[in-house]
């Protein structure tokens, strides 16, 4: 079996705050295989964005990576110099941000922002000045058409505010794809969009993934999005992975009480008439967490043994969950 494209082991990212040390990501393992789409699900504060900002080397003070390995395509990203990391970022791993309006530069045209990426990373561009700018223009038009923006040529000269929300998200995806990265990290690409536009953008990502054969990490809080677009899913809670496995298994037979709770608390069209069951309580404060199962305070099936550190357990083929009840004879 070939090695995974991205492999993160024991990642720990902390933030020094006045109130204490916040451990936003605590011992997270991630594996992204070539060509697959991994869904990362969790509520706000679960550490899903911080995990992948760490992978991209984008965690800034007061945050820092406190431990763990990040290996991408055979290289240890944590050992790279800032200069080498810059060469990876944007070229081999690209990330799109949740809010396209704040992520794009309002003072530059869309064409300039795509050209910036190509200038920085694309070595295949010809040297002569005229030939170079023509090549960049052609590539930009090609990429904008790829993400489904009509009359790409004239739209290159427009500014981000002249586009609608869905179009802006497409532009961000276009910028991310400019150098044909091996891995695209899409951080909540559709959260700010309407459902009909959301469907367009998600289908675009899936189409391009198949066309370019890249891997995609889709960070979202919407289990429905994961169910329809991801091969595997990783559920995060309070800085830890609590369950991971093939989408079908995790959503069909969730093993962790948190995953079960999440699935039980979304109203579903196909199960209309059935009551939803909210998870009581709130996400724990990430400062000074007691050494116990992080879901303990909200768990409906907690036991005394949960007051110790729980490790991931095998729940099936390639399906693992962080709960003591996993592996016990069926309840």
């Amino acid at each position: 079996m070939n090695a995974p494209l991205l492999s993160v082991k024991g990642l720990r990212t902390v933030f020094d705050t006045r109130a204490g040390l916040v451990c936003a990501v605590d011992g997270v393992d991630v594996e992204v295989r070539r060509g697959e789409c991994l869904g990362v699900v969790g509520e706000s504060g679960s550490g899903k964005s911080v995990t992948f900002s760490s992978v991209m080397g984008l965690v800034r003070s007061p945050g820092r990576i406190d431990g763990g390995e990040i290996s991408f395509d055979g290289r240890d990203l944590r050992k790279l110099s800032p200069r080498d990391m810059r060469a990876v970022r944007g070229k081999e791993i690209a990330m799109t941000m949740q809010d396209a309006l704040t992520a794009l530069n309002p003072a530059l045209t869309v064409g300039e922002q795509i050209a910036e990426v190509l200038e920085a990373h694309d070595e295949t561009l010809p040297d002569g000045r005229g030939a170079r700018s023509r090549a960049i223009r052609d590539r930009s038009i090609e990429i904008l058409s790829l993400v489904g923006i009509p009359s790409a040529e004239s739209r290159l000269r427009q500014y981000p505010h002249e586009f609608s929300g869905g179009m802006r998200q497409r532009i961000m995806i276009a910028i991310a794809l400019a150098c044909r990265p091996k891995l695209l990290i899409a951080d909540e690409p559709t959260t700010a969009l309407d459902v009909t536009i959301q469907a367009q953008v998600l289908e675009l990502i899936t189409d391009i993934r198949e066309k370019l054969g890249m891997s995609v990490v889709l960070i979202t809080h919407d289990l429905g999005v994961v169910a329809e677009h991801c091969d595997r899913v990783m559920v995060m809670y309070a800085g830890q992975v609590v369950e991971e496995g093939p989408t079908k298994d995790v959503i069909g037979q969730p093993k962790h009480p948190y995953t079960q709770g999440l699935l039980g608390s979304i109203p579903r069209l196909s199960l209309r008439g059935q009551p939803i069951r909210p998870i009581e309580g709130q996400v724990p404060d990430l400062i000074n967490l007691p050494p116990q199962c992080r879901f303990y305070s909200r768990c409906a099936v907690r036991k005394d043994v949960c007051k110790s550190l729980i490790s991931m357990r095998e729940a099936g083929p390639a399906h693992r969950a962080r709960c003591v009840r996993v592996g016990e004879t069926s309840k």
């Binding site: 109203p267 069209l269 199960l271």
Partner: protein, 339 residues
């Protein structure tokens, strides 16, 4: 008390007009008109939840606010419990507001950061003279705060000391303290995390049962509407394109827009096999709404007639209405896609 609907909205229209300077007026610069809500009629029965669904910019929040006269309607009538609300003077309107309240979408922006919970929730009591002494205000606020699931010892805290879900509970307490009959819920769960969203939905349902409330529930999430509402109205570009009992509309959507909305919802249960209607393009600008049927620019079923003729609202089943020129052909995008 009359036996008719609690709320009757007739031909309600809300247009926003651009400001023109004197010079522009003299030069004859045409005024830009945004038709946010266009000739909307609906009714809400006592004790019912009417779900109002649509994409951003379709005018659903404007409709909710125009009903409460938070935005003054341009024309049309809002009749609440037999009284024409649009004809009331300021004094009578204030008294009416006690009975009609609103819960806002953003629990961060809708609470005054410089007031404590006791002040925020107690304000309606003071405004409407519903409590005779400060002690009574505090007792009532305390009771209401506990009813929405917070603790009475949190009364002297400020909004920033609460999480999003808790703040939404404060907003609910503020809306309920004056003992209203009708509440406009303007996307009350959209800003919340999934597990918290479910808690607030449950709370709203429980309160409705206990206090006999009537809701106009505005949301862009069709699953939430499907779960909560008794009837649903689908809005597109300022108009209601389909309305009816929630079971009928969601099981047999007749308008192509409703059908495409339903197919666009990502669903947990549809792993792998889901029919999808691809809607092309974005919502047209309400500054220049398309002629004819407003949906024709994105509708996969549009014909030449749709580009010129605006459809009228027709009854398709008991209590189920839709506005589409091709209703009689009984087309369904959802079934087409399955084959």
């Amino acid at each position: 008390m009359t036996s008719g609907p609690l709320l009757q909205v007739e031909h309600l229209t809300k247009h926003y007009t651009s400001h023109r300077s004197l010079g522009q007026r003299l030069a004859g610069t045409p005024q830009i008109v945004v038709r946010a809500v266009n000739d909307v009629s609906l009714s809400v029965q006592r004790g019912e939840i009417l779900g109002l669904i649509g994409e951003s910019g379709c005018g659903k929040s404007t409709l909710g606010r125009a009903i409460l006269r938070l935005h003054e309607p341009t024309s049309g009538k809002v009749v609440f419990d037999g009284t024409d609300v649009t004809a009331l003077d300021a004094h009578a309107m204030k008294a009416m507001r006690r009975r009609m309240q609103i819960i806002f979408q953003d629990p961060y922006a809708s609470l005054n950061p410089r007031r404590t919970v006791a002040e925020i929730v107690g304000l309606p009591l003071r405004l409407h003279g519903l409590a005779t002494s400060e002690d009574e205000v505090r007792a009532k606020v305390g009771a209401m705060i506990e009813k929405v699931g917070l603790k009475a010892n949190q009364l002297d805290r400020y909004p920033h000391q609460f999480s999003g879900g808790q703040r939404q509970r404060i907003g609910i307490a503020r809306a309920l303290i004056s003992n209203p009959e009708f509440i406009v819920c303007d996307e009350p769960v959209s800003a919340l995390d999934v597990s918290i969203q479910a808690q607030i939905i449950e709370l709203l349902q429980e309160l409705k049962r206990e206090l006999g409330l009537t809701y106009l529930f505005i949301s862009h999430d069709i699953s939430v509407i499907g779960y909560l509402a008794d009837r649903v109205a689908v809005m597109y570009l300022g108009e209601i394109v389909e309305m009816g009992p929630v079971d009928a509309v969601l099981s047999h959507p007749r308008h192509p827009y409703t059908q495409s909305l339903m197919s666009a919802v990502p669903e947990v249960d549809a792993v792998g096999h889901k029919t999808r209607v691809r809607l092309k393009g974005d919502l047209p600008s309400p500054l220049k709404p398309p002629a004819g049927c407003k949906f024709h620019t994105r509708c996969p079923l549009a014909t030449d007639a749709c580009r010129t003729t605006a459809p009228k609202v027709e009854t398709v089943a008991k209590g189920h209405v839709a506005a589409c020129l091709r209703l009689s052909e009984n087309l369904s995008l959802l079934e087409d896609a399955e084959t």
